[in-house]
Subunit: 362 residues, 2 copies
């Protein structure tokens, strides 16, 4: 992680440690390759072209994105293979954009309903190169159909004139302490079941895509592509889940102590407008202070991170004007709050990267 100092940075700011980032990109690329799967990192985490290019340099097969607007940003940046891992609703406006996209990048899109597949078909008729992957629910119960319903969606894809290229799932129920192993098992089981049913119905299932940072290293047979995103930076959620060590967190919010009105309380300028407001029940606090082990952000408002110092804490606490690093709970939402990431290497600011796809929600 970055050393402190960095007085050329105005706080609050999100700061990336280049060495840790490279370590994270490299170890995940190796782990996934060793398991014989393709890596298609989810770019919604970083929304940033320099990181996308590094992921491809580490052997990624392409990128995953969540929205048409993200796909547009990365296609414009020259990324040649994009999968919108989302059940896109192709209304006429989005349909035109998808058609334009299909002309400039190799494009795949998710679908999880007969209606959604039909709308994609209307939007993309005559664009034979676009692949469609049916989304399967493996236990997270968000979007995605049960494996037994995959054939209906696949038939709608075929009827709409598009090419079914595979299936995908997101084992989001891995986001709970101790849940990753079972979620990885569910992921493989659901994808295998859906693939078998589809093949029995005459479909070829080339891609079986799973994902998530907590499960990616536990890939099982039946999953031939992985879409982790957070691993590039890691965050306090991943630390709490045991997915990474605190030294493997590549992004922190750098803040300043703006107030210390009581001996057991200080306030940083890293509020929810820089850290994001995510806090699942199994994460304590609103951000970790890596330089003050055991201390977390106690409460968060838009521009205040209140830190209550536990009784008996024996390290000196920072004073007004000092700079403090905070690890966000959920890095994807933190990155989406800034226009730029400050890039540090060996404690020096070496670059600033545009978060080009920030706010690209549509």
């Amino acid at each position: 992680m970055i050393v402190d100092g960095a007085t050329d940075i105005t706080t609050p700011a999100l700061v990336v440690d280049l060495g840790v980032l490279e370590h994270n990109l490299s170890t995940m690329a190796t782990a996934v390759a060793e398991r014989g799967a393709a890596l298609r990192p989810h770019a919604k985490t970083h929304k940033c072209l320099p990181i996308a290019r590094r992921q491809l340099a580490h052997g990624a097969a392409g990128l995953s994105v969540a929205t048409v607007a993200e796909a547009e940003t990365f296609a414009e940046g020259g990324i040649a293979d994009l999968f919108i891992a989302y059940p896109v609703w192709a209304d006429p406006e989005r349909g035109h954009r998808l058609q334009a996209l299909a002309g400039r990048t190799r494009l795949s899109i998710g679908a999880d309903s007969v209606e959604g597949a039909a709308a994609l078909g209307r939007a993309l008729s005559g664009t034979a190169e676009v692949g469609v992957l049916v989304e399967i629910d493996c236990g997270h119960h968000r979007s995605g159909v049960a494996p037994r319903a995959a054939v209906d969606v696949a038939r709608a894809v075929a009827k709409s004139g598009l090419a079914l290229t595979g299936i995908f799932t997101f084992p989001g129920h891995s986001y709970m302490p101790g849940a990753a192993t079972e979620a990885a098992r569910d992921e493989a089981a659901a994808l295998s079941e859906a693939a078998e049913l589809l093949e029995s119905a005459g479909f070829e299932v080339r891609i079986t895509s799973g994902g998530s940072t907590p499960t990616a290293r536990q890939t099982r047979p039946g999953v031939n592509e992985l879409r982790p995103g957070v691993y590039a930076f890691n965050d306090a959620q991943q630390v709490a889940l045991g997915t990474c060590r605190i030294e493997e967190v590549a992004l922190v919010a750098l803040g300043t102590v703006v107030s210390a009105p009581a001996p057991d309380r200080f306030i940083l300028d890293t509020g929810s407008k820089i850290l994001g407001a995510d806090r699942p029940e199994w994460v304590s606090g609103h951000g970790l202070l890596p330089d003050f082990p055991g201390i977390r952000v106690s409460s968060l408002s838009e521009h205040h991170a209140v830190v209550n110092v536990p009784r008996g804490f024996d390290t000196p606490v920072p004073v007004v004007g000092e700079r403090v690093r905070v690890i966000p709970n959920h890095v994807c939402n933190a990155v989406n709050l800034v226009d730029q990431l400050v890039v540090c290497s060996d404690g020096q600011t070496v670059d600033r990267w545009s978060v080009t796809a920030r706010g690209a929600n549509t």
Copy 2:
């Protein structure tokens, strides 16, 4: 609130109903004027010049902002009186920016420590027109000093060559059902106590500034300026607090049903990257669906708002491709996620407003 339809809007989007906005601006202006206080709306809610100008047209004395960067944006937009209601840490870089700001707008700044006041003095020495207000803690226990400590900070302000113009507080403990009346009482008591102590020590306390949408209509003697912010739009938190009726919510996220994988579940594209992830314990759900009374967003990921339909719900639920309105829990963080607000009147899109101060955190 906006009528649905609006097919020219690509989802997800934040949509403002102009009529409801005007109602909210007008009723708050009247309520505060009737209590004999000045209104200085907090612009961190909307970050938007057209709304700032409307607030001034309704008689606001100036605007409150949270950061130097927000002050810069509104000063550039021609707003002539700005109060940075925050204990600003004036490091050299921020100090230069404060000096530049003081040259182009009437500027006031918060301070809540001897060190903070001294840093402001170093940054602004010779800029006599800048006013400083000491922040008082009235029970929220965030930043701000206890009333008895106000004199120390005021002396540091005077010593640093700046003009003490008043005191301010934020009764944030009003954000709890049933707490507003007592919080408004605490606010008046703390400001009155601090003002008395300061006056006994020879300081003139011209401004006694309180705030918050839940308490603004309960202003008490001893508070001569108010800084509510959320009231311009309102949100699901204010509905839960009973501060406003659902018809007084002026901003919604417009989403599309992208998936309906089970009869009792549908998924909207209004995830945490458009609604924000705030959810205090006393708010159930991650957003209200005003057109489906009793239904809330059950869980939220970045691009998915999962709605579990309660058993026995007897209104037809929306199908894939339909558009649905969602009221965010905390509108300030939602607005900060977009570059533009879509403005509707009588169900028609009439304008788009830039969220000019989006991301202005420094």
